[in-house]
Amino acid sequence: MKTIHTQTNSVSSNGMISGTPSGMPVIELTKLTKKYGEHIAVDRLDLNIAKGEIFGLLGPNGAGKTTTILMMLGLTEPTDGQAKICGHDPAREALQVKRKVGYLPDDVGFYEDRTALDNLVYTARLNGLPQSESTERAFSLLERTGLAASAGKKVGAFSRGMRQRLGLADVLIKNPEVIILDEPTLGIDPEGVRELLELISSLSRDEGLTVLLSSHHLHQVQQICDRVGLFVKGRLIAAGDIPSLSKALNEDGLIQIEVGTAHWTDQLVHRLSELEGVQTISRNNEILTVVCDRDLTPKIAEIVIGEEAELTYLRRKEYGLDDIYHRYFEREG
């Protein structure tokens, strides 16, 4: 398992799991609710997303992520509550919102018998750009998304990854302030995912775009998001950057250290358990997990090397998104 890497540049990591970042919110959801008959798809959702932030909306299938996104765009009406995108209410001023927000649906469709260029130019024209400028922008975006060579090809012949990249170009052609990506990495091969995510994060960095990304792939979200929100059964059960979520989970303040050696001897285990601050020790084949109330990593290393037991692995365990996810699910039942 690799160590957690998060960017906390624009967001103050105050350790709170409240979901209120600093700076002016671009997306403001207050008590947003959507009911389908008796079923509550989104339950009183409160969420603020600041300008320039990459926010990951995480949750299992059917958690209400897409419904939330549709309400933000005015593509479906909220039962209750309000959304404000760039200061506009999508239920009333859908047009202003749509002018500023680019939306990439999870399974984006194009006119298959038209070329990539045609599709992009059409979107640009619908956004009120004149013909010549549309073509220019379309070409530059195809260049940027690495599709310049396929500009004249019909979209019907595109692979899944190419479509997704074309989708991104399509979203960007209107020069949006906010982009909303619904499961952008679904069904793309790992290399394609890496490229797409790199593209998204570079866009956010270079052009100050606010990005809302929904996904159920924890690792991908972890790679690029400033903050994540965990969304389960229509409710946002936690929001914050990954270190603070991890800290909040680890309320008892215990640290887990995993040690691996080539040969475990009873004496070694005994010596480790004798250390001051060690609470429990459990062994699973090569790997020994030491739970302690302070950081004993250097001491453990010292002892293992002192015993000449060939230290093969040593890691202070931190909560990754996987663990966060699981822990929250356990708690939510």
Binding site: L75, P105, D107, G109, E112
Partner: protein, 350 residues
């Protein structure tokens, strides 16, 4: 008092705001340009599609066939037997059929194939976009939702207009060549009106199929529903009316003209619920100036009438109710589609 007034004013404003939720907001300048972009794209899509090409092929064949049939009929001398058609020879090109050839007239062809053209252009207008996932992408662009369906409707109607008028003028041109007898201004006006009515009629079927394409997620379901409605009105509705007619028939030996008239009017009213019937009544009146009434006529009313064709204005007055009915049916269909579509949730692929 002043406070009261203020409160009332506020309440009214709140009410107004609630009313203007959604699509009823004020139009912004510049939204019309994206509307025409959509219309243009739709027309382009239709023209490039195979479906449109095939339909046009069929209709052109039918049109040539009907002219041939009409010309044959004129050569055979069918015309002389009907007598009063002499003064409107040119119009006969649209209605005449040869007794020796089993090819119907142009008007009949249009009333048969027109609905098919309308259905073919509309049955997958909305659901194919939905299934391809382009609807969500399109509606997340700054366009009004109603612009989307209006663009779908206008572009198809425009094509229908082009097709119907070019065919109509083609028939006129070919008739000129074959019979060498030019139309009078009145005949020309009658033909143009006939073509306009045909466009409205086909527009009705277009709207109906767009309605089904919004209602049904599968293109096949919507196509089948539209065709079912079309078959019902062209074939079964007549049969049902016939059954009702024979069931309610008043004995002709019974000397009660009032009862007979009542029964006749009932059947006529039932008949006129069908758009097909409305269309055929309208076009026969337009193309045959000899028709003086579309309902029952008593001997009393005929006394003193001079047997002459009606002038154009009178013919139009005669079919005005039918025409209104046709337009109303079209608008009702469009209204339902509009209401359905505005409230619908747009998922990427649902």
């Amino acid at each position: 008092m002043t406070i009261n007034w203020l409160q009332i004013k506020q309440k009214i404003e709140v009410l107004f705001n609630n009313v203007s939720t959604g699509p009823a907001q004020a139009r912004e300048p510049g939204s019309s340009s994206s509307f025409w972009v959509m219309v243009k794209k739709e027309i382009g899509d239709h023209i490039r599609s195979w479906r449109f090409g095939i339909l046009i092929g069929i209709i052109i064949l039918a049109c040539v066939g009907s002219i041939y049939s009409a010309v044959t009929a004129i050569r055979d001398g069918t015309l002389d037997k009907t007598g009063n058609g002499e003064s409107f020879l040119f119009l006969r090109m649209f209605t005449l059929t040869s007794s020796s050839l089993a090819v119907p007239s142009f008007a009949t062809f249009l009333s048969w194939l027109g609905p098919l053209l309308g259905i073919a252009l509309g049955f997958d207008a909305v659901n194919s976009e939905r299934n391809k996932g382009t609807l969500g992408r399109l509606l997340s662009q700054p366009i009004y939702r109603d612009d989307f369906i209006i663009a779908k409707f206008i572009s198809s109607l425009f094509l229908i207009f082009i097709v119907v008028f070019s065919l109509g003028f083609l028939v006129m041109g070919l008739s000129l060549l074959t019979i060498g007898y030019p139309p009078s201004p009145e005949e020309f006006c009658r033909i143009v009106l006939f073509l306009v009515i045909a466009v409205i009629y086909i527009g009705f079927w277009l709207n109906l199929s767009i309605l089904f394409s919004i209602r049904f997620r599968q293109a096949a379901t919507s196509a089948l529903s539209s065709i079912a409605v079309w078959l019902f009105f062209t074939i079964f509705y007549g049969m049902i009316i016939g059954m009702i007619n024979s069931a309610t028939a008043v004995s002709s030996t019974q000397p009660d003209p009032a009862a007979q008239l009542r029964q006749m009017n009932l059947i006529l009213t039932l008949n006129r619920l069908s758009p097909t019937e409305l269309f055929s009544e309208t076009i026969t009146t337009m193309l045959s100036p000899g028709i003086r009434t579309l309902g029952p006529l008593t001997m009393d009313q005929l006394v003193g009438a001079i047997a002459s064709p009606l002038p154009l204005g009178q013919s139009v007055i005669l079919v005005w109710p039918q025409l209104t009915g046709l337009i109303a049916a079209t608008i009702i269909c469009f209204g339902i589609s509009y209401a359905l579509f505005m409230r619908q949730e747009i998922r990427a692929r649902a």
